[in-house]
Symmetry: C2
Subunit: 433 residues, 2 copies
């Protein structure tokens, strides 16, 4: 290496977050807890490649094109056979659809899967949006018919997953699109799309403004508008009179789901008919989730719903499903920036074993090994430096116990609790914290 | 959706592997075990973004350019301010270097980190190489001087990590480049690079062929060649006479490392002076790893070594380090294809709770909840179908226990062990498998 080396000073890349070890420890612990809850309900892990063929990602023809990152090999051989263009996935639903279609014959249905991977969206960097983030998704897919049982189950699972990480009170808000769509049909409204689009903004803009828009812009009558806003504001399902079969079906399904969630705390789940979700993709139950104790977090932590046909673009089977997705990294980052996350330790070690001298290395290494064999995370200090310096290292890395192997043959091992300063004799083959 | 929909039949993308749930379960278990070993030695997790700025990836000027995947937004706004080109990382060493330089002031040294992420290499697809794969890396970085302690520690850590997953006998082969480089200096060989490059191929080509090349192509004398091949074949370090300070230092370091690994099984680690690693990046200890019981696996499962300066391209600090990297996905895939991996269950559930009838749903759901609260993974069957059908589902997903909640009030719960067929009364609040 030449003496005058060129330094390329690195800086953060906007939209691609990374954490210091003490925050990464918390992120990892959260991911582990969420995963444990997913598995406790029998959801199986899958992982798909980070890329899909561009044609697969755009097969549905939705307006996602501009968010897609396409891969280009920096120095592709010009004589090479052209292969399909590859692009990073922007969610885990399209990959799931492709996965189920591709491996259809080898999967057991109902197929219950979870998936916790990074996804990428090529948003304009200046918008401050994340361009790489974790999503934690669960979905259940079945062939031809999917029991309503799962609409309640996925809600219970994500509720429990969010409760397992320490983020205060969580509230699920649940609706069923058939109720509002049924009402619109009964009211003779031919195009429900603009109405649902504005009802989705009800909480943000307020009933007065939405009424104004539905009459003035969408062209509904005041009576139609009132009927729709009455329904959207109604929290007591027993007060809703179904006007047709679709409404009755939606009410029955939503009542079943709410009934199955009765074991949650009072604040935990409520029917909210103003929830419609933007996407027309959803055909029945829809979910959003609010954090009641984190005003810094606007919008929904996790959301999802039931869809009629997962993989119609890739396979000639009718595959209804229901699923919810936690926008993990945004949740983590908002809480971190709001100082609501207590950073973890800088080292996973619970014990630092002191190295008294080069001569005592074997004794010290064996103590470390004995403790590790019993499931503890243990660092052996790397050089026979002054004991004060070794203890300073434990302090800096928040390692809670310091272990002193015998400095001479015949002496005992001792362990010091760094929090209360207590130091006691201990045997590395039986001690526990 | 129109009746005549276009079907885009998906197919695997060459070089981007994915597994069925029963293999993903094994992959996940392996990753968990490796991680647990890394943490048991006090290595802290970090995760860096999947991308780096292209200039960061190419700052070292090595010949990696052709393997790099650059990201292009499918529809970037032409009026948008040009930002730096981003590319997927091809290893975890460059990202580590960038991370350490960027967060230098906030890290505690020696900095012990592990990193288990996917990396990408835009290899020609027809070569059958992987283009996306997991690497499991540990490295220790210090400022100015890094104790030799860590050269032994990282070897012990990866040995234990590989032993924790069930892949037969593992053998570390360890050398120290200073020994061979010192000898070459003593022999008056001016350019060591071509010699190390061919010694690296010694096992593959054999001593006779290498001798031929070193004399005929590289231009060494027969005496120089014999001295080098003698050294490369010498497994007893005590028989090597150091010719200069560099050789003596290398021998002392290698002896220390081997001494620290004496607790491993006899086959576990051996000094092998023919190991030089291709990269000139390494300056001292170097490692390779063989699987003794898996002939299908050629080459090294994990390898690494000591380097003099991690992040010289990004920061004006002297940061020596030592690290090893497990090529995880290739290991997993070779063993899977050799039928040496027993697939895991299709569901993480240990218990399937039967749903006797719609009326008994509350009782069944509560039993499932009670079992889950005590740490078990439990599926509640989704519909009150025939009991045989429900048990068939448990069988297909290899769920080992089926739980029967009381079909009428006053009856007991019962649980059936699907392996031996035994069925016994059980209480969901106290039963365990």
């Amino acid at each position: 290496m030449s003496d005058k080396k060129k330094i390329y000073k690195p800086k953060p890349i906007s939209g691609f977050p990374e954490w210091l070890p003490e925050y990464r420890a918390v992120e990892q612990a959260w991911l582990d807890k969420i995963r444990a809850v997913f598995e406790s309900y029998g959801y199986a892990s899958i992982e798909t490649p980070s890329v899909e063929e561009l044609d697969v990602l755009t097969a549905k023809g939705e307006d996602v094109d501009k968010e897609i990152y396409v891969l280009e090999r920096l120095q592709a051989d010009p004589d090479e056979k052209k292969s399909a263009r590859l692009a990073l996935h922007f969610d885990q639903t399209v990959p799931l659809a492709r996965y189920v279609a591709q491996h259809f014959a080898e999967l057991t249905f109902p197929f219950k899967r979870y998936q916790m991977q990074k996804v990428w969206r090529g948003e304009r960097p200046q918008m401050g949006r994340m361009r790489e983030f974790y999503q934690c998704d669960i979905d259940v897919i079945n062939v031809d018919k999917l029991p309503i049982h799962f609409d309640a189950e996925v809600a219970a699972v994500v509720y429990e997953a969010l409760e397992s990480i320490d983020i205060g009170r969580v509230q699920l808000r649940i609706s069923n699109r058939k109720i509002l769509l049924g009402l619109m049909e009964a009211l003779g409204i031919e195009d429900p799309v603009p109405v649902t689009r504005f009802i989705d903004k009800l909480e943000k803009l307020g009933a007065k403004e939405i009424k104004h828009i539905l009459i003035g812009e969408v062209g509904l009558t005041p009576e139609q508008t009132d009927a729709i806003l009455d329904l959207a504001g109604q929290q007591d399902l027993s007060k809703i009179k179904p006007q047709n079969e679709m409404m009755a079906e939606g009410l029955e399904e939503l009542s079943f789901v709410m009934d199955q969630l009765k074991h949650l705390p009072v604040h935990g789940a409520r029917a909210d008919l103003s929830i419609v979700r933007g996407l027309d993709y959803y055909t029945g139950t829809v979910y959003e989730t609010q954090l009641l104790d984190v005003p810094e977090f606007t919008g929904s932590v996790c959301s999802g719903g039931r869809y009629d046909d997962l993989a119609g673009s890739y396979i000639n089977k009718h595959l209804p499903g229901v699923g919810i997705s936690i926008g993990f990294t945004r949740l983590f980052d908002v809480l971190r920036q709001a100082n609501k996350i207590q950073p973890g330790p800088k080292s996973p070690a619970q014990v630092l074993v002191v190295l008294p001298s080069e001569e005592r290395r074997t004794v010290a290494a064996e103590a470390a090994r004995n403790l590790r064999e019993r499931g503890m995370n243990v660092e052996l200090y790397h050089a026979p430096q002054k004991i004060g310096k070794q203890m300073g290292y434990a302090e800096k890395k928040s390692i809670p116990f310091v272990w002193f192997p015998p400095f001479e043959d015949g002496q005992d091992h001792e362990v010091k609790n760094m929090e209360n300063g207590e130091q006691t004799k201990a045997d590395p083959k039986s001690w526990s914290a």
